[in-house]
């Protein structure tokens, strides 16, 4: 049992930052994110005997993701949707790189823009841009085909640059 505890601490707890980051972006505030992480670590600990090698970070984050969505449902959070204009446009008509760069200096402004994304777009942005997972890894965690992950990312990025430079959602 001692060994099992030590192994859990060695393999799972180094990913606490990643776990908290995803929980924070999905749950929307610090208090709920902490609860989600606590709950997820407990679940991970209980089912740790079923963890057979593989990537501990994506294993933990899959649990965090489920716990976060459960918490959101309990809270009665409403689903958001992206503007169909953003979804349909393939052409790049958004703001310039200079405009994005200018806004990027303000971390809170960037955070506010990311928070405007619907959760299913926000999570792929977080997993790709902050946590550096591959499309395949994201697809496995989110339970979607790789092609869907790629198009969500592309649309999410387009929406994000609009929110970032345009300010409020359309």
């Amino acid at each position: 049992v001692e060994n099992e505890n030590a192994l859990f601490e060695q393999t799972i707890l180094p990913h606490l930052d990643a776990a908290y980051n995803l929980a924070r972006w999905l749950a929307g505030n610090e208090t709920d994110a902490r609860d989600v992480v606590q709950e997820s670590c407990l679940r991970a600990f209980k089912s740790f005997s079923r963890f057979r090698g593989g990537d501990a970070r994506s294993w933990l984050l899959t649990i965090v993701r489920n716990a976060a969505y459960t918490a959101l449902r309990k809270r009665g959070a409403r689903e958001q949707f992206l503007d169909s204009e953003i979804l349909d446009s393939v052409a790049d008509t958004g703001p310039s790189a200079e405009q994005i760069l200018e806004r990027a200096a303000n971390i809170e402004a960037v955070r506010a823009a990311i928070a405007q994304l619907p959760a299913d777009y926000r999570e792929v942005i977080v997993l790709r841009e902050m946590e550096n997972f591959s499309y395949k890894e994201i697809a496995d965690m989110v339970g979607l085909p790789i092609g869907t992950v790629m198009s969500r990312l592309a649309r999410g990025r387009r929406a994000l640059q609009e929110f970032l430079v345009g300010g409020a959602a359309k």
Binding site: D17, E129, Y135, M150
Partner: protein
């Protein structure tokens, strides 16, 4: 490769997810097309902007996670539940005691109940007046009481008597 194709693949290229054949094709296009090259540049700027907004776990989170692992709430739940039930029972007892003090009418109700039980048992046993068994004994034991005149008290009557009060 034209711009439409390039823009459809450019996120994949930016993420390092294209196979080598498509990578070579898109690179050739990017070298010749300022618009698509600008798009790639924007994706890079956007990544840098987003990357820096990642949250790190609050300093005490690790400690509180570890603490919760070593005292799982499942084990804590039972004694807490027991304590709640105990407190509720104690409160009910105290309340019952006060009610008995304040409304002495309750005790006459009790004797009425006892009298009714007595007469019911007497009617089952026969006309003979017998000392009624205490209500609690009737309630608690489904077995027949060891009393005179037991012919009518077969096993079926036990529970029915018990249900009466």
């Amino acid at each position: 490769m034209n711009c439409d194709e390039a823009l459809r693949l450019i996120d994949g290229y930016h993420d390092g997810e294209l196979d080598s054949m498509h990578s070579v094709e898109i690179e050739r296009h990017l070298a010749a097309c300022d618009n698509c090259a600008a798009r790639l540049n924007k994706l890079r700027v956007l990544r840098e902007a987003v990357e820096q907004t990642a949250f790190s776990a609050p300093r005490d989170l690790r400690a509180s996670v570890l603490a919760s692992l070593h005292t799982p709430p499942v084990e804590n739940a039972k004694p807490r539940l027991g304590l709640t039930i105990g407190l509720a029972l104690a409160a009910a007892l105290v309340l019952g005691f006060f009610l008995a003090q304040v409304f002495p009418g309750n005790s006459s109700e009790k004797t009425l109940l006892a009298a009714l039980t007595d007469s019911h048992i007497r009617s089952l046993v026969g006309t003979q007046a017998i000392p009624a068994p205490p209500i609690r004994a009737v309630r608690a034991s489904p077995r027949r009481p060891t009393r005179p005149g037991p012919q009518l008290l077969n096993a079926r009557d036990g529970p029915e008597c018990a249900r009466f009060p």
